[in-house]
Symmetry: C4
Subunit: 264 residues, 4 copies
């Protein structure tokens, strides 16, 4: 087995990977998780100032690691029959979503030599988190999630439009009911929508609350109705999961032994 | 093809509509969405004062557009076999829900010459939002939604009555427990119902909260029980979706042995 | 048809009731709803004082109506083959849950001549609300609700025990984490349970919130886990509804035409 | 029947247990529940000081009871064919989860003679609560719960990772939007995560709320999207329950025409 082939098999995890593949997979997850932790901790000013060197060194190490990994992937990908052409195959691979995510995880670092706001660019390092979903074990669950969402796309979008529609309507009425009593919180429809959002999602921060009797009556009715609408996306996703996971036979409608359709 | 027939086909979107139909559909959606945005933005006092002319001109344009569209629809509807009588057909079409919604989206504007509160009438322009549901693409999802709600109407109404019933009961007890400690927030059953509504829907604004030990014990028990009742409408809708989307066979009820229908 | 038989048919609503039965049913619902409204409005001090005579007269009228109705029911129930014995049949009917509810709706009024707290006794008038569930239209939905809850009783009780168990555990940890920082809100496990209840049910009043870092980390983990546990009763009820409503055949497993079991 | 055999049958509840077994089971439950109540009440300082002797005596009694019960179990377990070897059988039984839970419920008491913090050790007495799950009656519901969670483990873990992932992303954006306006509440990503957790779970304490327009717009969008993600674990568990409880046939996969199993 050539070095390139061995490299390819190590980088592309499969169900029946051996020990070196498992070690690389775990190493990659550890570095990705540490990157996320670093981004979160760096935002704490006191920690950032004390451990500035540690954070800097870890970032340099991570970028070097991700760069090397990316180069190795581009180099070895031609072992994959789908991308076997040395130039066009590599180009096609480099333009897949996953390869672009890989690239964005380290490329912004090299842009910091340019006069740009470093902090905003750092968000791209969060891209690394997406890579975790490539982990073999969770591939199947991911596929199920994607299928459910894709199959129910239309109904989910319609639910979302419904919610926005209801949000505007109820905010309009609360604006009419409360604008005189609380001009700072219900003084315009967008301001009333902050209350409406907190109520429909049942978050209920409590920073904007109706105080007039009319406002409370309307607010109460809207909140109770909101519960039913919240049940819509839950019902859609729930039935989506059910079909995909438990009724694969329901789609076939044919017996695999005798070939007859059940509804003949 | 006559001009009237061409007009009719443009205004009534069908699955296999050509390019002019698509352009008109998109134009209509854009104008409707801009109307909603205008209503929302106009409520912000600073924006309203600065762009008063822009808002006024856009409203005049919208009303002109909706009026023209309505006249064209009434004129061309006789091409539809269901409404082919020149007078009675048009009357019947004009009295359908969708045509009335179309009418209410612009008619109130002409009433502003009368000494009425302009701002309240503006609510009718929100009617335009309903028109979005006529958009062909989402028709099927809408039909499913309607069917689920219609089929489960009785159970949803019963859930609603249950919730109102429980709301009154728990508010009565909280009123007894808290009226002495907090006469401003639990001084009457309707006031206690504001707390009850916020708790049963799990919104929990926090503006009215029991402070006595008895109130907290009762409030806690009510909140935990409320979670189970909230699951009722969710369960009803969820199972409704499931049946409609995945078990069309369950409705046929044919025996796979003898092929007869169960309900004969 | 005797007067007693006519009385019986009017009082016991059936699916195919005529116009007098419908009128009586509607009248009964109106009086019950007005009673609930009266109890709620009477709790508002200003209304109670102003309309004290109206409330008193309405209460007297209601009690007279309910008493008369109860007497008529007891008198005519012997028309029902189940209760045809003039004495024992009436006794057995009077001891059914529904007849006791009917009795409790007016009996406490006669007890007000005794030196007891009138206000507390008034709660029994809420019993009248239960009677609404006898309305024919909602009978079937009620039966479904009851069946779902009965069939899933064990799992619902177990969910409830789980929730109480988790509530005690998380409150214990929050008590350890926050008792020094907020002795007034997390100074004992029962006090911490008020926070725990508000968090697990996602009500989140915000009157008791962890302030220490440890408390916030624990509180966040508990809240996220709580979401999954909240899904338990919803899932149980949802699947219960589904089975009962859509899979009645799943229970029979036999074809009604050929009598064969599907699993033979 | 030997004394050891009688002891074994009393301690290990079975479906068809006689009266002594039932009495012992109820006694055990009462003592466990009283232990939980004692732990909760002891945390209330005023009660602890007043009834210090009662609490102490009850703890001594409980520990004595649990110790005796544990010794009896270890002594009599050899009657169980699975653990019949006098030494190795007892060792294997002592290392089962349930036996360790039993041990932890009283062992920490004996450690209080050592110079350790008594209060922290007391947490182990909560272990007693776990023992309640051994109660025979609820065994079947427990098995269903466990099966659903085990079968959906991967999807539930993926949901959890998704939620953590989304929590970090939205907290990052809220930190960027609000850190200048509210450095005490959104001054770092971990601090913003407290808001994010309260929003995604719809708890919404209201102690940290965005105040800038950008923060409110982002916060509103995040909250609405969060509702859909909350529906994921609910949908997973709901469909899990359904399959296990109502579709035992779906697992058999036999063709009604030829009777063969689909997975042969």
């Amino acid at each position: 087995m050539t070095f390139r082939r061995r490299l390819y098999l190590t980088l592309e995890p499969t169900e029946k990977g051996g020990i070196p593949e498992r070690i690389f997979e775990i190493l990659l997850i550890v570095i990705i998780v540490l990157n996320i932790v670093a981004i979160v901790l760096e935002s704490i000013r006191s920690l950032e100032q004390e451990y500035i060197e540690l954070f800097d060194n870890f970032e340099k190490f991570s970028v070097a690691f991700f760069t090397l990994e990316y180069v190795c992937r581009i180099y070895s990908i031609v072992e994959n029959p789908k991308y076997q052409n040395p130039f066009y195959g590599r180009m096609r691979y480099a333009s897949t979503t996953m390869a672009l995510v890989d690239l964005l995880a380290f490329l912004p670092f090299y842009l910091t030599f340019l006069p740009l706001d470093l902090r905003f660019i750092r968000i791209f390092r969060l891209m690394a988190l997406f890579r975790m979903f490539k982990i073999t074990r969770y591939m199947q669950a991911m596929i199920i999630f994607k299928s459910v969402i894709r199959e129910r796309r239309e109904q989910l979008i319609l639910s979302f439009i419904f919610i926005i529609f209801i949000l505007i309507i109820i905010s309009f009425f609360m604006y009419l009911a409360e604008r005189d009593a609380q001009p700072d919180k219900f003084g315009s429809i967008p301001e009333a929508m902050w209350w409406g959002m907190a109520t429909l999602t049942t978050v209920g921060y409590g920073d904007a609350v109706p105080v007039t009797t009319l406002g409370k009556v309307l607010g109460g009715l809207f909140a109770i109705s909101g519960v039913a609408f919240l049940a819509l996306p839950a019902g859609i996703l729930s039935s989506g999961f059910f079909e995909l996971l438990h009724n694969p036979e329901a789609k076939k409608h044919t017996c695999p032994h005798c070939g007859k359709d059940f509804h003949e």
